[in-house]
Symmetry: C2
Subunit: 264 residues, 2 copies
Amino acid sequence: MVVYAAQGDARRSMGLLWREGSADSARPGPRPALSVEMIIEAAIGIADADGMSGLSMRAVGERLGRTAMALYTYVANKNELLDLMYDHALAELPADYSGHAEWRDALTAWARDNWDFFLRHPWLLQVSDARSVLGPNEFQTVETLVVILDRLELPAKDVRRLVGTLTTYVRGAARRAVEARAAQAETGMSDDEWWLTRSSLLAEVAPDFSQRYPALTRLESGRAFQMEDESVPYLEQEARETFRAGLATVLDGIEVALRRARIA
Amino acid sequence: MVVYAAQGDARRSMGLLWREGSADSARPGPRPALSVEMIIEAAIGIADADGMSGLSMRAVGERLGRTAMALYTYVANKNELLDLMYDHALAELPADYSGHAEWRDALTAWARDNWDFFLRHPWLLQVSDARSVLGPNEFQTVETLVVILDRLELPAKDVRRLVGTLTTYVRGAARRAVEARAAQAETGMSDDEWWLTRSSLLAEVAPDFSQRYPALTRLESGRAFQMEDESVPYLEQEARETFRAGLATVLDGIEVALRRARIA
DNA sequence: AGCTGATTCCTTAGGGTGTAAACTGAGAGT
DNA sequence: ACTCTCAGTTTACACCCTAAGGAATCAGCT
């Protein structure tokens, strides 16, 4: 299930996202035993460990020694909690790439950091970023990327599109790796095992494979299966390779745009 | 929730995927009133209309005048049904781009067709393609892309990575548009409405925005809001723009690789 | 000191989900 | 006519989110 930005009380949500000095005004009623902060962190812990499907209000409550309903005084609903988790997690991302002299190096480092980040928090890829959450850390991540891109001295319109292109690509590539990893965990079957069973079945059920898909057959026939790191499962390694190569292609494309802009 | 390839009986699943001549052997017991085909089509109909969250076994059964449990004699479980839906839907995609003389035109057309396809069947983006389903139509889509890329006469390794890069990019870009559309449907709030409420709240809650995010502020300040088509909501239009521009960047990058290969 | 009223947190309940298990009843083969 | 197989149903379980309302807590005022 993909999740969308909270449709609850917008003012309340924004207040929680941008909460700073927790003005601890003395109020009647029992002193709160929990805090939004604690709930967000407990929820992120669960999501990191058990994925989005393991994240339930019950589970979060339980981790804090409460019932699910106890959380609803701090957070309007599960969607709002997800928004808060999202923005909270983004704080982890590095914000400064001025150390890299070349813009190309800076963008490569930025992309790698994002990749690592998404693999650390795979559930983030299931929070829609179509309508952004508008939290402080989300803006910070865009700011960080724009600062790098500003070096290119391209028109604002191009920069805006590059922001979209780069984030789309990095998210998409990371998603592949995350899904490969999740498939393994979920099915309890390694990539090798899976491929072994399936490929023999495939030969059985589609004996005319090579006639039916000649280009594909030719492409795969010359394949050398050299694993660069035995400990990383096959599909994940493949995803990482593709990520690197694809990023290089995108950066080459940006260089072309740069040259074009200089000539004009 | 993202869904992974069926972990049920692999032989049975593959048989259903590649089923061809339905050998209608006479068997005891009541004549089946349904068929896998009918179930797949009913399920796709529901998913197209109500999205993945509307797709339940109960709903599919109901559409066919049966209970949810009736489906389980045809299909092992919901995951298997999703695999079948996935491969079935892919049959819609065009398979021939030989009409485009230039590889660049062919790839652009391919990408646009994929984009349209995903916007027509948004739920497809929620079926993981990490471990592929290994159905006939899925192989066909790869074959189609490889045939186009073969014109470039690049080494097989590069072609394989381009396949990954292009599909990742197109899926990612389409996802953004799909999510924008879904956010609208789910929240019952137009993009404009949403932005209006949120942006005024933002000014209230983050008065130091422009100091905190100077590059971002500068980037957005010079923005011209020219809508090319009033009927398409703002965020979706933005996604389409980014898609086009990003694709051009990737293709530019491929051209660079081509030139490099020719020199070497 | 005692009350008031706000606030936290709980219990209960209702409407979802996927699917296991046991059952009914149709119909082909002997 | 009998039997065996299999389509489809019913029932049930374990999970999900969250609305509603009640119990416990405690600051501030009288």
